[in-house]
Amino acid sequence: MPVLSLCTAIEQYVPDGCCAALEGFTHLIPFAAGHEIIRQRRRDLHLVRMTPDLVYDQMIGMGCASRLTFSWGGNPGVGSLHRLRDAVERGWPLPLALDEHTHAGMAAAYAAGAARLPFGVLRGYVGSDLPNVNPRIRSVRCPYTGESLATVPAINPDVTILHAQRADRAGNVALQGIVGAQREAALAAKALVVTVEEIVDRFPPMMNSVLLPHWVVSAVVLAPRGAWPSYAHGYYARDNAFYVRWDAIARDRDSFLAWMREHVLAGSVA
């Protein structure tokens, strides 16, 4: 398991046209990796993420994505993702195809992916129009009770990118706090890149802690504050004020582009 620079890791694991999941549920969102994808001007990505959040708003607004698999696309506690809306409502800068699910459906799809099963089963989508607009939501009949249950196709991204607090030299990765569907997304992927706050020589035995063992990790990248403006439990808090500010920045195409030029394309994040 190599330690790579962020630039090299993205070059190597995120080619144009690939399916990439940058996961992290409010917590540990891999913003630094998303910004590097933008700087490398990736195109035609199939982005997967339960909650697109600001990082996908930025990638979509910069034209990196042609398809989005998701289950809730807002600015948490604030309102809309204006760049996502602009892409869906007006095709700017590019049209964006949607594979839309519920949280429960996405969770089942990641879990199926992690287990290398072709589909996940849930009592889901009941009474919803979502199956009418997403033909990949189907059903299966229980071989015992005869009842019909919803299915989702497994999600197996070409690459999953996570941010975590720590890795050790062997490449084991430790997460603490809210873990969302990160483990499932990590194990579902063909390659797993993890940006971390710190690399330490070795972990103590961690028993029941959340750990991704080195042999499922493709590359580790040292990226301190790499989850900002989301947060890394034990390192820094969520920048709630920035999430609020983003609403004004992203509402307008020009102010969005100006912010991205200054803070991302120039290479330094405010």
Partner: protein, 261 residues
């Protein structure tokens, strides 16, 4: 018992939050979202229901936040949780398994049967407004033992026909055999489904609100219960607890974020 606050002392949004909090009982297990539902659940916990159990979809079970989170996964929720579990387990083992007593829902649109839209305004493929989408709502509607809807009413939000059905709450759609939301808490009062057809009707008004106001906020011909209850105004300790919670929240998140929904 403490006295009721004077009418001028409270806002409709405060009344809404307090009315919702009163629906919760000590020990009940609530699936909480952000915004008003979070405020209502935490208010209940800080007043009459100290052992109320808060479950957020971020996997934080039994949280006791001191301030309201801006997002559903704020660090405050993890730090004060009894434990933090993976999100897929929350949905499969707790919500789907029927281990949630009360779920709260919000939406951009509601129809006369309590079906909800939080997906799009306009056609799905060419929306005039793309909304955030389902998140946990579809399965909360289907699997929580009871659900309540919190929503500011207007002819744009209370519509005869949804643009898109995100959560189906009508008869037959719920695994628990329920009939959709037990109540819709609006900024004028409370709607509840009639026993016969599950159609929402005006059940109760806040002090100062009128049947006419309620009808003007709803785009379908709103049925009215034989006797419309008047909901008790906020009690001073409810109002004090809610305002202290909101003041702590503003202080914690900074002045700018207080502007967030």
């Amino acid at each position: 018992m403490s006295r009721a606050a004077a009418a001028a002392d409270w806002t409709r949004e405060e009344m809404m939050t307090i009315a919702a909090s009163r629906l919760l009982w000590n020990g009940c297990v609530c699936f909480v979202g952000i915004g008003l539902p979070g405020a209502a659940c935490n208010l209940a916990r800080l007043t009459h229901a100290p052992d109320l159990v808060l479950v957020y979809e971020s996997g934080t079970l039994g949280t006791k936040p001191d301030v309201l989170p801006l997002s559903i996964g704020d660090g405050e929720l993890a730090t004060t949780a009894a434990c933090v579990i993976p999100l897929p387990e929350v949905f499969a083992w707790y919500l789907q398994a029927g281990r949630i007593d009360v779920g709260f829902l919000g939406a951009a649109q509601i129809d006369p049967y309590g079906n909800l839209n939080s997906t799009v305004i306009g056609p799905y493929d060419a929306p005039t407004t793309r909304l955030p989408g389902a998140g946990g709502a579809t399965e909360i509607a289907a699997h929580a033992r009871r659900t309540y809807v919190l929503l500011k009413a207007s002819p744009r939000s209370c519509v005869a026909r949804l643009d898109f059905r995100t959560s189906g709450c009508d008869a037959g759609a719920r695994s628990a055999g329920g009939r959709g939301p037990r109540a819709v808490i609006t900024d004028f009062g409370v709607l509840t489904p009639d026993a016969a057809r599950g159609e929402l009707m005006l059940d109760a008004l806040y002090p100062g609100a009128t049947v006419e106001e309620a009808r003007s906020c709803v785009a379908w011909p709103l049925a009215v219960a034989g006797t419309v209850r008047i909901i008790d105004p906020p009690r001073t300790e409810e109002l004090a607890a809610l305002r202290a919670l909101q003041a702590r929240t503003r202080a914690a998140h900074g002045a700018t974020s207080a502007g967030g929904r």
